[in-house]
Amino acid sequence: MEAVLPHGHHAAPAGLWRWLASTNHKDIGTLYFWFAATMFLIGGLMAMLIRAELFQPGLQLVRPEVFNQLTTLHGLIMIFGVIMPAFTGFANWQVPLMIGAPDMAFPRMNNWSFWLLPVAGLFLIGSTLLPGGAVAGGWTMYPPLFMQGGISYDLTIFAIHLMGASSIMGSINIATTILNMRAPGMALMKMPLFVWTWLITAFLLIAVMPVLAGAVTMLLSDRNFGTHFFDAAGGGDPVMFQHVFWFFGHPEVYILILPAFGIISTVIPTFSRKPLFGYASMVYATAAIAILSFLVWGHHMFTVGMPAAAQLFFMYATLLVAVPTGVKVFNWVATMWRGSLTFETPMLFAVAFVCLFTIGGFSGLVLAMAPVDIQLQDTYYVVAHFHYVLVTGALFSIYAGLYYWLPKWTGHRADETWGRWHFWLSAVSVNVLFFPMHFLGLAGMPRRIPDYALQFADFNRVASLGGFVFGASQILLLIVILKCLRGGEKAEARAWEGAEGLEWTVASPAPYHTFTEPPEVK
């Protein structure tokens, strides 16, 4: 069956079986990326439909209950189906390459953690076909509203359990790989920052995914087995769900952004032709953000009617997050300072990330102020805030990382012209899409509504137009990737002039098996 190569290597198996049964970190990384891309297409089409409905006041395209399904699924798909799998794809491809390991610590579990995801994705999307349609209570699943849905709500809980199990296994694998399989000489404080951010992210995931699983299991039990965890009529408390959910939810926010910090901290030094400024403080800042993330969940709940002391505690803790985050932004700027900068596509996305993520950080600061949050909670201001953090933040970092490592993965350089078009169209339209949402929120437009009062019409129209351009621009990325896979300019082992790190010491494309002999790190 398998050709035996020198050093006992297996040849890459061919056909469908290669992908279904793969235990190779590179193949599984690729699978994660294609899964994320597919889900991005689906979640993105939902966003287009949402923006089309909101193009003008009145109900045009979808009924309110379908609109609620769209916003709910869009959120769940983009978080659990796009950003998280894409970052896990990076971890699979890059962590072994960056620490000089031959593969992940648990290759078979790696396969299992990936293949749970398409099943969960199918359940989520397939639930639209069930009677009553898909889950429509918002991605936050607050009871008692969540009690009112049909069978698709239970199926969604199952999908979340699957995705949670996948994440937990994936992060155990990543943490074990990083802690045990580093090349000789690579001390923890010599690891590339991307590896550091993923190590911390993995621990966050292991800590909070079980909390989410517990929360949705209680929902399942309330829905089907007569318990009253969240039902006041039976002695429960609906707000308790929010506490448990956000104890997961806020660390989750940083799960979605810490690997982004890692990618940006890799890309900026390369194109500044300088080492990263303040490596140690970057590591400490990442750890500080992770620890603080467990202390700030209450800021999602300022309007539930907490005591003043609790509001103040959560407000102060949240403000503190700004300090390590600020340190990171300053470090990136200092890395560029007096460098020798060039602006290939990965760098363009990285620079846009620094700028636009900071806007999301500032709106986060505004929302952290409890009295102001009372006004802005559940408005479009919040929608603007988390889309700046997750689209121009997490997603742009994914783009930067893709353009950066595609030469290593495919052996071909990405087409710079198409890449630049993709960047500029995305960077301009994403601001046309999301910036006006700040104004809508301030002016008083609630989120999650299919229809709105007339004074919100103009900015909604602008945002929708920006959204259509942004959505269409992402087709360019697909073209770039397909071109890269089919051919193009050959990439050298060190694809970028300023690139540092072990992954650039192996050939491009990276051979099916790398680092069977551990490299020596000085």
Binding site: N68, A233, A308, G326, M369, D378, L454
Partner: protein
Amino acid sequence: MRLGRQVLWMACWAGWVQPVVADWALNLPAPKSDIAVRIYDIHTLILLICLGIFVVVFGVMFYALFKHRKSVGHQAHPFHEHTSVEVIWTVIPLLILVGMAWPATRAVLDQKDTANPDLTIKVTGYQWKWEYDYLQDGVKFISASSTPADQIANQAAKGPHYLLEVDEPMVVPVGKKVRILLTSHDVIHAWWVPELGVKQDAIPGFIRDTWFRANEIGTYRGQCAELCGRGHAFMPIVVEVKREVDYQAWLAAKQAGKQAKAVAAAAAAGKSFGPAELKARGEKVYAAHCAACHQADGKGLPGVFPALAGSRMVNGPAAAHIDRVLHGKDGSAMTAFQDQLDDADLAAVITWERMAWGNTGSPVQPTDVKVLRK
């Protein structure tokens, strides 16, 4: 051909400029209560601080982007740490945050101080309307959206207060401390009036409070802010702030109206109605209270809200049907209507359901409803 294209372009242009009322508002609405003024000022302060930091930090970054690029021949200086700079840019943000937290802390403490109100109103959220209960004055009424369905369906021109208008607004006196006690009958809602600077979740089974003191006469509009199902966009809040004398006059009229209604209800409760009379009244009640879920055609929404047309319960014995409307169904969106509607309205709407859309149920009289109340 050319003419056709011109017409097309003009149509596009007309479509573009159509919503003339839109006002491109960029900021919070002009605040009309002390708390709202404080929120407005804190927001402005933070915005200016953020703007300042943004300009400085990204001024430095863009300077580097233009001056320190390889294409202008800039050589990299491979420095990678500087302890004193790093300490400075950790400490300075910390100090700025302390400066920002100070006014916010005082505002939080004031927002939370609901003691010694001049007036207390209990507000209950329902899917998808609000109930206002003036506890000291015995006035209680339901306030629901009054935007006609054909405006939402784009079959009629939209009014100036589209989706922000109700049949019966909440009325309060100017300059008085109004405490709002909030709860909900079904799912979580949030009561929000931006100009008054109040937003508070309404949580079933719990009572939370908040307060405001309106400092200007006027009509202030808000919306439910917490996703509460398919009607979430359609449960507006309207608060009319009146002079004390006008408020008292409104209150007196409400109390008088309540008495008259009680007399009429008592008279109706013992009375027997003809089916035509019941159906006519019931159709109106149905449109106001039932059609949002069960739909105007009685067909419901498959899998979410059951159909009444052809339903076994609606076409079966009246007692089970009355019981369901009076007491609702646990674990579903079907709410208990016994506190919302009087016997005559309930008899009318149940009769309408039993006789409309080809249903063949028997009519129901107010006395039938009365005996099943718990």
